[in-house]
Amino acid sequence: MLILHCPYCGVDADETDLHPGGEAHLTREGPGASDEALEDYLFMRENPKGVHFERWRHAYGCGKWFLAARCTNTLEVFGTYSAQKTEPPKEICDKISGKRPGWSWGTFK
C-alpha cells in the first residue's frame, strides 16, 4: 500500500485517499508548438522501472494536487513536494542520488 505525505495538509494519506494524476513535470505545448513537441507532450511518457515523478491529488482530503518522487520497482517514496515546482527540490534529488546512484529521469539526474 502506498502512503504519501500531503505537503499541503501535512497528513500521511493512504493510497485510497488519493487520486493519481499521471506523470509530473510535463511541459504543456500549445498553439505554435512543433509537431514533435506536441506529440511529446500528448503521448510520450517516461514509464520507468525505478525512479519516477508523479502527480497525485489528495482527493478525499484537502483536494490539492502535489508531486511525488518514488520508485516504481520497490514502491519506496523519496518525498513529496508542492505542485508549483517546475523541478524536484534539491533535497529530494540528493536523497534519490544517495539511494539510486546514477539515476536519471527525463532531463533530471
Binding site: 499541503y8 495538509c9 501535512g10 497528513v11 493512504d14 485510497t16 478525499y60 482530503g61 484537502c62 483536494g63
Partner: protein
C-alpha cells in the same frame, strides 16, 4: 418557506457505542486567505473559538471552526444563525477575494459516542487513530467506507462525523454496523 429537516431527522442507533444523527446544524464553507486578519477576526467572532491550525478543529457546542484545507475553513454555527453569519462575513470581507456558501442542507452530521468510538471509526477510515496520534481537537478529511467524510474528536469518547447529505443513510448504516460488530481491541482500554 418549507420546513427544514435534517437528512435522517435525528435517527439513533443505540448500543455500547451510540450513533446519533445531529439534526439540523449550520455549516458555512469559507474559502479565502486564512492568514488574512479580517477573515480570522470574522471567523473567531462568529464561532467564539480560536482559529484552528492545519488539521485541527476547535468546537464548543454547536459552534466551531474546522480546518478543511490551506484555503478553506468550515464555520459551524447554529442552523438558525447561518443567514446572519453570512451577512457578517460579507460585511467583514467586502472587496476581498473569498467565497462563503451555506452548506448546512448539503451535509449530514453524526455523533459517535462510546468507549470504543475510536475503533468504530478506525475500522472504516484509512487513518491512524491511535490515542497518541489522533487526539481531541484533531480534524481529518478522509473517507468512511466508500464515501467522503470528515471527523474530529469532541472528547475522548465522542467523534463528530460529517458527510454529504446524499450519502447520510449509507454513512449511518456503516457506522451503526461497525459499532454493532463490537470492540476489536486494537487500542489500549482506558
Amino acid at each position: 418557506m418549507s420546513e427544514a429537516v435534517s437528512a435522517l431527522q435525528g435517527k439513533v442507533a443505540p448500543g455500547e457505542v451510540t450513533i446519533r444523527e445531529a439534526g439540523l446544524r449550520g455549516m458555512i464553507t469559507l474559502r479565502g486567505d486564512l492568514t488574512d486578519t479580517k477573515l480570522k477576526a470574522a471567523c473567531t467572532g462568529l464561532s467564539g473559538v480560536d482559529m484552528p491550525g492545519p488539521g485541527q478543529a476547535n468546537c464548543v457546542g454547536e459552534k466551531g471552526l474546522c480546518w478543511m484545507s490551506p484555503d478553506e475553513m468550515l464555520v459551524l454555527v447554529p442552523y438558525a444563525e447561518v443567514t446572519a453569519a453570512l451577512e457578517v462575513l460579507a460585511k467583514a470581507l467586502k472587496g476581498k477575494h473569498y467565497l462563503a456558501e451555506p452548506v448546512s442542507d448539503a451535509r449530514a452530521m453524526f455523533f459517535v459516542e462510546g468507549e470504543f468510538a475510536r475503533e468504530v471509526i478506525s475500522k472504516l477510515a484509512p487513518v491512524d487513530l491511535h490515542p497518541d496520534t489522533f487526539k481531541p481537537g484533531d480534524f481529518r478529511r478522509t473517507r468512511l467506507g466508500q464515501v467522503a467524510a470528515a471527523f474530529w474528536m469532541r472528547d475522548e469518547d465522542t467523534f463528530e462525523v460529517i458527510c454529504f447529505r446524499s450519502v447520510a443513510d449509507y454513512a449511518f448504516d456503516l457506522l451503526a454496523a461497525s459499532a454493532k460488530a463490537g470492540r476489536v481491541g486494537l487500542f489500549p482500554v482506558r
